[in-house]
């Protein structure tokens, strides 16, 4: 089974092991130690860590398309938010008549807007299974339609980045409108419970945290399985030489579409797990700034590694928590500087600094030092020697 293939990889085992130990540790420290103990992990921290894990899953989704397919999506926040809204709609319907206005069917904001019936697209969200399907379907469908149009017309590179940004911007404007029926400016909030569990209890929070951890592990395995398959190598081929891949007989646009849709669905799942933990979903998740922030997590962690995305997401968001706590003004400076420093000085990200877990792949580094002298061709026929004579630094000149 292709999906289980990554389980035999050392790097995946290591990643899953560390994730498992971390989750176990948090659980034990939260449950076993009494409150007030120095090592006790509070419910607040558990939820915070859960949030980081959601971001990590989102970053893995972005890394899948950016790192392996060369598609820099500046609109992944849209897929995340759509998943989040699907979950938010389920949670809204779960409130039932416990809202401020006590309407058994309509969410508070609809009562406030004097709506007398539930819009058709809110039907079915009272059922958890339906919501789960929509969490995958809504972002997946958007990615399918958008990707189909874009990839068919061979819109890639910077153009694609810009129109993905426009996409999420347009969605943000749309969701800000009250008429859309998604709560407008305020979004969806005041959730009470999920699957019958009260969202305010510590146990539910821990459960959500663990569920997010499992989702991250599954998401990681799915991505790893794609990347390690022949399709993954085709993706890299599309990334590096799209035309060549086409002349080999691969339908580049379908490869791109498949990976893009998978990535969007993973982002949707991340959004769906995020909403019950932070208790709100509003149009700001669609903001272009958020989407581009995700990209910098991946860039910091090191792209085309998957685990790098996880490291980047957790680190940046931890830094954000710390910074906004002590000096909120400095955060945007720090974030801005991070963008610049990572791209200029750390093109391979943190993962590039770690001891390699895999077979070294020189070509993974898209940012080799500048062009050297033209090596021309090697007069010596021995291929091994010829290869040794070619330092990686020189290879760009022949591209």
């Amino acid at each position: 089974m292709w999906l289980t293939r990554p389980l035999s990889e050392r790097s995946t085992q290591l990643f899953l092991g560390i994730l498992f130990i971390a989750m176990l540790l948090v659980t034990v420290l939260h449950v076993a130690l009494p409150e007030g103990h120095a090592l006790h992990v509070s419910a607040y921290t558990v939820t915070l860590l859960g949030k980081y894990l959601c971001y990590a899953l989102l970053a893995v989704a972005v890394d899948l398309v950016w790192g392996y397919l060369g598609i820099l999506s500046l609109g992944h926040g849209a897929f995340f938010a759509l998943g989040g809204y699907a979950m938010g709609m389920y949670l809204m319907r779960q409130i039932g008549d416990r809202g401020v206005y006590g309407d058994p069917l309509l969410p508070d904001f609809m009562v406030f807007l004097n709506w007398d019936a539930l819009p058709w697209y809110w039907q079915g969200f009272d059922m958890a299974w339906f919501a789960v399907i929509m969490v995958l379907l809504a972002p997946g469908l958007l990615a399918l339609v958008f990707g189909f149009l874009a990839f068919r017309s061979r819109v890639t590179g910077v153009y694609l980045s810009i129109i993905t940004q426009a996409l999420t911007f347009a969605l943000m404007l749309a969701f800000f409108r009250n008429e859309m029926g998604f709560g407008g400016n305020n979004g969806l909030t005041d959730f009470k419970d999920i699957l019958g569990f009260n969202l305010r209890t510590d146990a539910t929070r821990l459960g959500l945290f663990l569920a997010t951890g499992v989702a991250l592990a599954v998401g990681y395995i799915v991505c790893r399985a794609i990347v390690a398959s022949k399709l993954g190598r085709v993706s890299i081929a599309c990334r590096d030489a799209e035309a060549r891949t086409r002349f080999l007989g691969y339908r580049v646009e379908r490869v791109q579409l498949f990976v893009f849709v998978v990535s969007a669905m993973l982002a949707g799942v991340a959004g769906a797990l995020y909403v019950p933990q932070v208790g709100i979903i509003n149009p700001s998740e669609f903001s272009p700034l958020f989407s581009i922030e995700i990209v910098v997590w991946v860039a910091l962690g090191g792209r085309a590694t998957l685990y790098g995305a996880v490291i980047g997401a957790v680190l940046v968001n931890y830094a954000k928590t710390v910074f906004t706590g002590i000096m909120p003004d400095a955060w945007l400076f720090a974030l801005g500087a991070l963008f610049v420093l990572v791209t200029v000085f750390l093109p391979k990200g943190i993962a590039g600094l770690l001891p390699s877990l895999r077979r070294p792949k020189v070509g993974d580094d898209p940012a080799a030092p500048g062009p050297g002298h033209d090596p021309g061709y090697d007069p010596d026929h021995d291929p091994d020697q010829a290869a040794d004579a070619q330092s990686p630094a020189n290879r760009e000149a022949t591209v």
């Binding site: 068919r152 017309s153 153009y159 963008f339 200029v344």
Partner: protein, 533 residues
């Protein structure tokens, strides 16, 4: 009747000769006596005195009568001095000497004896004032007076106007006076008055026609309805013209914002996400200039044009040297790094200046509007920005087409290695190009400061739109940017009435997204084999 005749004579004399001024000087002493007479005359006699004042030819007569009509002509009880009340709120009123016009500060209202006026007199005065205004030397003031008369003409006034009309030298005033008379005749049920009125866009004319359309005379009703229909047609056209103007205005803003990007992105291939912040810097330069030159907003604005260019160009060069040059050939990384720069610049402005919006003053010569006709007036600041955008565009075209720099830029764009081997310093060209594109962003900021609030988010609001314009127009094509900017602005304005501002924007964005998928290279694609990635 005698009043009118003398006034007409007065007007003719007024227009013709200086001696009249001398005459006015001579009669200056008459002033106090006339006011005295006005104050002391009985209600019945006041009409007579008014006509004497109007006849006197005193240049202050209008002010006196206007103040009298408003109930602001007073006499200080103790001194008997005549004053005009400037401000009549509170216990103490601000007054000025009626004879000299000197401000006299505040006087307790108990000390003031207002010269009484009744409604009959007021009506008479209104006409007299209008007629006086119609006889002044200044054509603009006559026009204003004539406009005010429409729909207010009664039998007496109509006769006076008919007498004034042949002597009127200004065509605009004459047309308006004719309209005013026609409205009066229409009110009397005169069907021949309809023809001259059809086609006028004035609301009084429309009101008169509408009421005529409800009259009992079927012929008049039909004629009035026809006239109204033709007016409605004209109005529709004017509304379209207005939408087009707003569209072009919005478009010119988009062009200004995007044209710098068309150079850095289109020509150099550098994605500068901090472009919006360079616009913002230009706007803040204008604000700073006005702080440096308080009281001279116009001069400050003019000086801001070179200053804004310079500030943004320098900032652009700093960005190019510190970040972009290290990321050559890696467009996606450039995008990210410059986005970081944009965050830093925004936060810098928030921290150093203020997170709040700053107000940039619009100089007098840019405020107000140009009236094309009664239904269509164009705001001056938008007109200036439109013109400015076109000038900037033409300038850029000239630089790219006719100068050495333009030639070198095009050479480096097409084949960097070849250009280098021909002795072109590619690095220098990069810096110059980037400075040019960034400087133009600064110019956009200067222009924008006249239309919107200047705040830290100013640039952010334009960056996505700017990229859309460049991509829609075809990367690398300045013409494309111009056409795309103007057409997107117009489309947006056309959609707004039925979709609302936000939805219109969404529709435009979705339209562009779909358009790019249909024509990935935009409206004006770069052609040839070299364009193939």
């Amino acid at each position: 009747m005698s009043i009118l005749r003398s006034l007409t004579q007065l007007f003719v004399v007024c227009c013709l000769s200086l001696p009249l001024l001398a005459h006015a000087q001579d009669t200056r002493e008459e002033g106090p006596a006339l006011l005295q007479a006005l104050a002391e005359a009985s209600s019945a006699d006041k009409g007579d005195v008014i006509s004497r004042i109007a006849k006197s030819g005193d240049e202050r007569a209008r002010d006196w009568l206007a103040a009298f009509a408003d109930g602001k002509l007073s006499r200080i009880e103790d001194s008997g001095q005549f004053v005009i009340v400037l401000e009549n709120r509170g216990r103490n009123w601000t007054v000025a000497d009626a004879l000299t016009g000197e401000p006299m500060g505040e006087v307790s209202r108990r000390e003031l004896d207002t010269i009484r006026i009744n409604n009959a007199l007021r009506r008479e005065l209104d006409s007299i004032l209008s007629v006086i205004d119609l006889t002044v030397n200044n054509a603009e003031r006559r026009l204003e007076a004539a406009r005010a008369l429409r729909g207010r003409v009664d039998a007496a006034l109509s006769k006076r106007l008919a007498e004034l009309l042949p002597d009127e030298s200004d065509d605009r005033v004459r047309t308006v006076l004719q309209d005013a008379l026609a409205i009066y005749r229409l009110e009397q049920g005169d069907i021949t008055a309809v023809a001259p009125l059809s086609g006028s866009l004035n609301s009084e004319v429309r009101a008169a026609l509408t009421s005529a359309a409800r009259s009992d005379d079927p012929k008049l009703v039909a004629a009035a309805n026809d006239a109204l229909a033709s007016i409605e047609q004209k109005l529709k056209f004017n509304r379209a013209a207005e939408t087009l103007y707003f569209g072009l205005s919005l478009g010119s803003v988009l062009v200004l914002a995007a044209i710098g990007l068309a150079i850095t992105f289109g020509v150099m291939g550098v994605i500068n996400m901090a472009h919006g912040e360079l616009i913002m810097l230009g706007a803040y330069t204008t604000w700073g200039m006005q702080q440096l030159l308080p009281g001279q907003p116009g001069l400050a604005l003019v000086l801001s044009i070179p200053a804004g260019f310079l500030v943004s160009a320098l900032a652009g060069v700093a960005i190019e040297r510190s970040v972009i040059q290290f990321l050559k050939g890696r467009p996606l990384e450039t995008l990210l790094a410059t986005f970081g720069v944009s965050l830093i610049l925004q936060q810098l402005v928030r921290t150093v200046i203020s997170p709040l919006n700053r107000t940039v003053i619009t100089p007098e010569w840019m405020s107000g509007s140009v009236m094309i006709n009664e239904a269509l007036s164009l705001t001056l600041n938008r007109l200036y920005v439109l013109g400015f955008a076109l000038v900037v565009f033409a300038g850029l075209m000239l630089i790219m087409r006719k100068t050495r720099l333009g030639l070198e830029v095009r050479a480096v764009t097409q084949n960097r290695a070849m250009a280098r081997s021909m002795g072109i310093k590619a690095t220098r060209v990069d810096i110059m190009t980037f400075a040019l594109g960034s400087g133009v962003a600064g110019l956009a900021g200067v222009a924008l400061s006249q239309l919107t609030n200047v705040g830290p988010n100013l640039g952010q609001n334009y960056i996505i739109d700017s990229f859309m314009v460049v991509v829609f127009g075809g990367v690398g094509s300045l013409w494309g940017t111009l056409v795309a900017g103007l057409s997107l602005g117009t489309i947006n304005q056309l959609l707004e009435p039925w979709a609302g501002a936000v939805l219109a924007k969404i529709v435009v964005l979705v339209f562009i997204i779909l358009f790019i998928q249909k024509r990935p290279r935009g409206l004006f694609p770069q052609k040839g084999r070299a364009a193939e990635g």
